[in-house]
């Protein structure tokens, strides 16, 4: 510690211990400062994490509830002729029941404003009711219909009522109607099943994540089916069979590099090779799965190799000693012991693939798709891309839904990672 022992001008101590003692105060201060920096770094990361979660949960939790309006609907036989039940003018039914609830509303402008209170999805709900139970026709019943997104936002308090009318998406008159509906008990917040069961929509109150979740499922299915066997096979070859030479070195360097290549480059590969060269369909989970397979392979190979390395050599030697062939040794003894570790790696790789969106943007999985995909070649989008699409939408109601979709995505990730941890805890063996 030469730099600290420079004697100060005031006193010139003779013994080393005095020099050291003089500098101790300053050195301990430096020690405390350093410790503080370390602690601050950890606290800072924790604060970031907390902020992230608080901001997302705070914005998103309310999306799981959706405002509904109870209207007294008369299933008018005049409007609903049997032969055109599918194409009938259900919007007229909604209009009529609204006018009945607010008989004093006059004038086109006002009537249009009144109609805007109920979501355009109400039409589909009435239609499916009428199609399911044609006996409803001619009867008058109370129906809970989804409210428009703006009403929902106002009821949830995301729109400020004290702004001047011009800066609000909801007019004074509409607020008045909403308050009256609420006072009559015709306005209620119900669990938002549409959000979990519907496909995408331009209307926030009708948009759901099920289409994206199915798309993610099919994409991950392809990824898992391809990347796990291929990854395990490569790991087994490299660990158990390959001789150490130039060729295996090349493969190893390649795998390590691929693990660090930006994901978007895999998207470019998918676009150029799978779409343009092989002519596979755009936006399909099949192509998404292929691209993600190439992307997750390095992760799975690296994890599988370390699982194989953890199996002690004595197992291999014992198997070979009783006359097993190399392949029998691997398949009968080494693989079963390494499998939990490999599965853990596979789950972690799948979790990463589930959160990946950049390469999928390249292969057209960003399209606006309402239908729920039924197979691996149907156009689809995935959960993170759905989040990206919604995040771009200007409506306030989509902010809420984006956050809620993120919560669902994070929930899936937590479940997958927890599964990996449990698997590791349960099957981890210390040799």
């Amino acid at each position: 510690m030469n730099s600290h022992s420079t004697p100060s001008a005031a006193a010139t101590p003779r013994r080393t211990i005095d020099i050291v003692n003089l500098s101790l105060k300053r050195r301990y201060r430096a020690e405390r400062r350093f410790r503080f920096y370390g602690l601050a770094a950890i606290v800072l990361s924790m604060v970031f994490l907390a902020l992230l979660f608080v901001s997302i949960v705070g914005k998103g939790y309310s999306a799981f509830w959706q405002t509904s309006v109870r209207l007294t609907v008369f299933f008018d036989p005049e409007v609903l002729k049997q032969d055109t039940l599918v194409n009938a003018d259900y919007a007229a039914l909604v209009r009529e029941s609204l006018f009945k609830a607010f008989p004093q509303v006059e004038g086109r402008q006002d009537k249009r404003q009144l109609n805007a209170l109920v979501s355009s999805g109400a039409v589909y709900q009435l239609r499916s009711m009428a199609l399911k139970d044609p006996d409803l026709i001619g009867r008058t019943i109370d129906v809970w219909l989804p409210a428009a997104a703006d009403v929902d936002m106002l009821v949830k308090g995301h729109f400020r009522r004290d702004l001047p009318e011009g800066e609000r998406r909801v007019s004074d008159q509409q607020i008045d109607w909403i308050d009256r509906l609420e006072a009559e008990g015709r306005l209620e917040r119900k669990f938002n099943t549409a959000f979990l069961t519907a496909g995408d929509s331009r209307e926030p109150e009708l948009a759901g994540i099920w289409g994206a979740v199915s798309g993610s499922f099919f994409t991950l299915l392809i990824t898992l089916v391809l990347s796990f066997p291929i990854g395990v096979a490569s790991a087994v070859y490299l660990e158990e069979f390959a001789k150490k030479n130039r060729w295996t070195d090349l493969i190893e360097v390649n795998i390590n590099n691929l693990a660090a290549v930006p994901s978007i480059v895999f998207g470019l590969l998918g676009l150029a090779v799978f779409l343009n060269f092989f002519g596979l369909p755009r936006s399909a989970p099949l192509v998404g799965g292929l691209v993600l397979t190439l992307m997750t392979l390095p992760t799975i190979i690296i994890a599988s190799r370390s699982a194989l390395q953890a199996v002690p050599p004595s197992i291999r030697e014992a198997a070979l000693g009783v006359g097993a062939s190399r392949m029998q040794m691997v398949v009968h003894h080494v693989l079963p012991l390494a499998l939990p570790g490999m599965l853990t790696g596979a789950i972690i790789g799948m979790a990463r693939a589930l959160g990946e969106s950049a390469p999928l943007l390249m292969i057209g999985m960003v399209a606006f798709i309402v239908d729920i995909p039924k197979g691996v070649t149907d156009p689809a989008t995935v959960l993170p891309v759905q989040i990206y699409l919604w995040a771009d939408s200007p409506e306030r109601a989509f902010v809420e839904r984006t956050s809620a979709a993120i919560m669902v995505l994070l929930a899936f990730l937590v479940v997958m990672n927890a599964g990996a941890i449990i698997l590791r805890k349960k099957f981890e063996r210390r040799w």
Partner: protein, 462 residues
């Protein structure tokens, strides 16, 4: 027959072939007398039958489907009227696209055109023929292969060695996929990039100061010439990555030091997994956080201080990207710090150094090569990170190093140039591949250097 159901049939047939072969082997084994014994156990005979049944058929299945649409397109184009065939390549590809769209029942602009409709019908019938042919060929091949192998099953057949040989070939094939992926990336990106450089000279691309990749749809359009000077894009990438590093390196390094040198067991048990959680969050979530929480906050904070901050400022994107990289930096540094032998620390303590002096003057210098490798890997991740910048950084290329202005990055440009329908021949879309090539080369160099440094460092203390 749809490919998926054909695949199911193929798998079912191979399973059947397994039992088919195994039964014959069992029957033979039952007749074995005295010293004569089967060379391999019956399951190996079954496996051999199944493998020969499945592999050639699957190979044909894959190759057939991979090239089917190309071949059919060629055939359809050949039978089209002369007027369409003689179209230039880019118009022809549009026509082919339309035909495919009509065929799959989508709405297109020229639905009423009878020639197109006929071509689409032709396409459909050819594909139906192709699918039937594929089904017949593969199933026939499987049956033939199964029968042949079964007829060869005997006492002497070395089924186990055959099976193991085939499995080894499969293992080798799987391990080469990594190499093919790399080759595929290089070839596809390079090929399109070279086409781009034929239109725009490479020097203009690498050293030009103006980036506005708008190509004219009509010749007389205003602002019709696109500019492809990528320097502003590179500078924007560097700026955002630098901001990210300023956040991630000190925080990641200090938290790693604290966790491995100071923290007690309990703090470590809580803090380490929590930092790992940051690593598991998808980048699209960070992007959302940056765009909706951090960027408005920075803009308002700037407003309070009297600074004008762009709503898509580089600072917001860089800051959030830094947060994303903290766990990466921290876990790498943790590894390297732990790899420093305890004896070095003990030596330092015995000379009377305090803990922080030991860390700063002994542990860190010993770990510095590894940490530098880690920083390089982190830089490569920052450069290649896409979703955060797509959602939180700007689109217009400004030549500035002011972190409060909006800048754009390589990945943002790739995404915006390639999203949506594109024709594949305009320089606008090809520019994305040129940017991709630069991105790939830069990250590859960083990775190779970093992995080399890290490997050398690890060997040092092993």
């Amino acid at each position: 027959m749809a490919p998926v159901s054909l695949l199911v049939v193929l798998l079912a047939l191979s399973t059947a072939a397994y039992f088919f072969g195994r039964r014959k082997a069992f029957a033979l084994d039952g007749r074995a007398e005295g010293a004569v014994k089967m060379h391999s156990r019956p399951t190996y005979h079954g496996a051999l039958t199944a493998l020969w049944c499945a592999l050639p058929a699957l190979l044909i299945f894959g190759i057939w489907l991979a090239f089917e649409s190309q071949v059919i397109t060629q055939l359809v184009v050949k039978d089209m009227p002369e007027s369409i065939r003689s179209l230039p390549a880019d118009r022809l590809s549009l026509v082919i696209n339309d035909i495919r769209n009509i065929e799959s029942g989508n709405f297109v602009s020229q639905t009423s055109n009878p020639a197109m409709q006929a071509a689409a019908d032709h396409y459909r019938s050819l594909r139906s023929i192709s699918r039937h042919a594929l089904a017949v060929i593969t199933i026939a091949l499987m049956v033939a292969a199964a029968l042949f192998v079964r007829s060869r099953i005997s006492f002497r057949l070395r089924a186990r060695n055959h099976v193991e040989g085939i499995l080894t070939v499969i293992l080798v094939a799987c391990s080469t996929i990594a190499i093919f992926t790399t080759i595929g990336i290089i070839l596809s990106v390079l090929y399109e990039a070279i086409r781009f450089f034929k239109v725009i000279p490479i020097t203009d691309f690498l050293f030009g100061l103006d980036w506005s990749p708008q190509m004219a749809i009509r010749a007389d359009q205003v602002g019709s010439s696109g500019a492809f000077g990528a320097v502003p894009v590179f500078l924007g990438t560097a700026l955002i990555s630098a901001i990210a590093m300023v956040v991630a390196v000190p925080v990641g390094l200090m938290s790693a030091i604290y966790l491995s040198e100071y923290a007690g067991k309990r703090l470590r048990a809580v803090a380490k997994p929590l930092i790992e959680v940051l690593a598991g969050i998808p980048t699209v979530v960070y992007g959302f956080f940056a765009a909706l929480t951090v960027a408005p906050f920075i803009r308002e904070a700037g407003g309070v201080l009297g600074l004008s901050v762009a709503s898509e400022s580089a600072l917001a994107a860089g800051l959030v990207m830094g947060i994303m990289i903290i766990p990466f930096m921290s876990s790498l540094s943790d590894d390297f710090i732990n790899a420093v032998p305890q004896s070095l620390r003990d030596g330092s303590y015995s000379l009377g150094a305090t803990q922080s002096e030991t860390i700063r003057k002994v542990v860190l210098p010993a770990a510095i090569p590894g940490i530098i490798g880690g920083v390089l890997l982190a830089v490569s991740r920052a450069i290649g990170e896409t979703m955060i910048v797509v959602m939180a950084a700007g689109l217009s290329a400004n030549l500035t190093i002011n972190p409060l202005k909006a800048v754009t990055t390589v990945t943002v440009q790739i995404v915006t140039l390639l999203i949506g329908d594109q024709e594949f021949d305009s320089p606008k879309t090809l520019a994305a591949f040129a940017l991709g090539l630069v991105l790939f080369i830069v990250t590859l160099c960083l990775n190779i250097i970093a992995l080399y440094v890290v490997r050398k460092y690890r060997e040092q203390y092993e």
